[in-house]
């Protein structure tokens, strides 16, 4: 379960070591934009040691490596792969070829380490116009791809438009990525809301992302984590309805009926699928059926 993902700068020990105390489902150790070129070596070693020695139980580790057009990305993979992060976030993925290049090298390193292929997943970061246009090809390029991730800051720079809180300039990219990811059968994560002091703006932005079909949302501030978790968690009402749907389906089966209505609405396959997803998430969150 990844409702929230929190970026932590890869060369800041104070933030890295406290990463699992900040409430997010996943933390992203950032070796890319948060680290200056002169400190890439130091951050890589620090992140590797943090993963090696620290116990982040209950919080998935994701590492944003440097992009494949730099001299750093293979060294990043060499250092982190032995400690099996949940996902590698690959910046500036513009084509299926980019994802396949990362996949090829990750497979090579897994073989050297004696790890099964695809032990570590890949999450392409889509943050260029080319990446958006190639989103489905990227998402379906290799089994290693587990999710797409939208990066709006670089994307709006590439689109030559201004990044706004309302986000109209990224509407197309958001919906395009959701459709591409779902068509490929992978998850999809929304870009961070970057005004850390706008407590209302993050709620609106997270609700929009949820409504569009995103699996979860990233954050650059611990202050946003609680809101994101709340928005991407089912409400008690939704959980109770999901159980009612499953009860209704069981009843229909026992009565030999092919179709059944609940509260005047026909229950069909997509509603059952959604109910199953809601119950699975509720169980993961320890939520019980209400009375």
């Amino acid at each position: 379960m990844r409702r929230s993902m929190l970026f932590l700068p890869g060369n800041n020990p104070n933030m890295l070591i406290n990463g699992n105390c900040l409430g997010s489902d996943a933390i992203i150790f950032d070796l890319e934009d948060a680290v200056s070129p002169a400190e890439k070596d130091a951050a890589r070693i620090l992140v590797r040691n943090t993963m090696r020695y620290m116990d982040f139980r209950g919080c998935e580790i994701i590492v944003r490596i440097n992009s494949i057009d730099t001299a750093y990305w293979q060294k990043d993979i060499d250092e982190i792969m032995p400690y099996k992060p949940g996902l590698v976030l690959l910046p500036k993925t513009g084509s299926a070829a980019d994802a396949l290049e990362a996949d090829r090298y990750m497979t090579e390193v897994e073989q050297k380490l004696g790890l099964p292929q695809n032990t570590v997943g890949l999450m392409p970061l889509i943050e260029t116009a080319m990446g958006v246009e190639n989103a489905f090809a990227i998402a379906s390029s290799t089994k290693r791809v587990k999710a797409l991730f939208l990066g709006a800051e670089d994307l709006t720079a590439d689109l030559q438009c201004k990044r706004t809180k309302e986000g109209r300039e990224i509407e197309y990219a958001r919906t395009r990525l959701v459709v591409a990811a779902r068509a490929a059968g992978v998850d999809v994560y929304d870009t961070p809301f970057t005004d850390v002091n706008d407590d209302e703006g993050i709620v609106t932005d997270a609700q929009l992302a949820k409504a569009l079909g995103f699996t979860g949302k990233a954050s650059i501030s611990p202050r946003h984590v609680e809101v994101i978790n709340a928005v991407f968690s089912p409400t008690q009402k939704e959980v109770d309805y999901a159980y009612e749907v499953m009860d209704a389906i069981e009843l229909a089966k026992s009565q030999g009926k092919g179709a059944i209505a609940l509260h005047g609405k026909m229950i069909d396959a997509p509603i059952v699928t959604r109910a199953q997803q809601t119950i699975a998430m509720a169980q993961a969150l320890g939520m019980e059926r209400g009375v």
């Binding site: 800041n12 020990p13 104070n14 070591i17 070596d41 130091a42 070693i45 620090l46 590797r48 040691n49 943090t50 090696r52 020695y53 620290m54």
Partner: protein
């Protein structure tokens, strides 16, 4: 390969450690730490271990510890060694 030049790693920020390393004929470790009294010996042991792992037998090493965990101290010493060898 031994240390061939002065190099530094880390910062003076909380939970971090700042490490300076320079070429020398033998090994000398100087430590400043907010927990020197309680953990000074243990920190020096960790620094010495990382130096050995890095094949460094001669160097002057200065460590300013700002309450760093062992994994952070190890990372900063390793980085300083790499930079001091000119490998970074």
């Amino acid at each position: 390969m031994e240390i061939v030049k002065l190099a530094t790693a880390g910062t003076m920020e909380s939970s971090d450690a700042y490490v300076e390393i320079e070429p020398a004929a033998s090994l000398d470790i100087q430590l400043e730490s907010v927990v020197q009294e309680q953990f000074g010996d243990e920190i020096c042991r960790v620094v010495r271990e990382v130096l050995e792992e890095g094949g460094v037998s001669g160097a002057n090493v200065r460590v300013v510890d700002r309450g760093a965990l062992e994994c952070v101290i190890r990372a900063r010493v390793e980085t300083a060694i790499l930079r001091g060898k000119g490998d970074a």
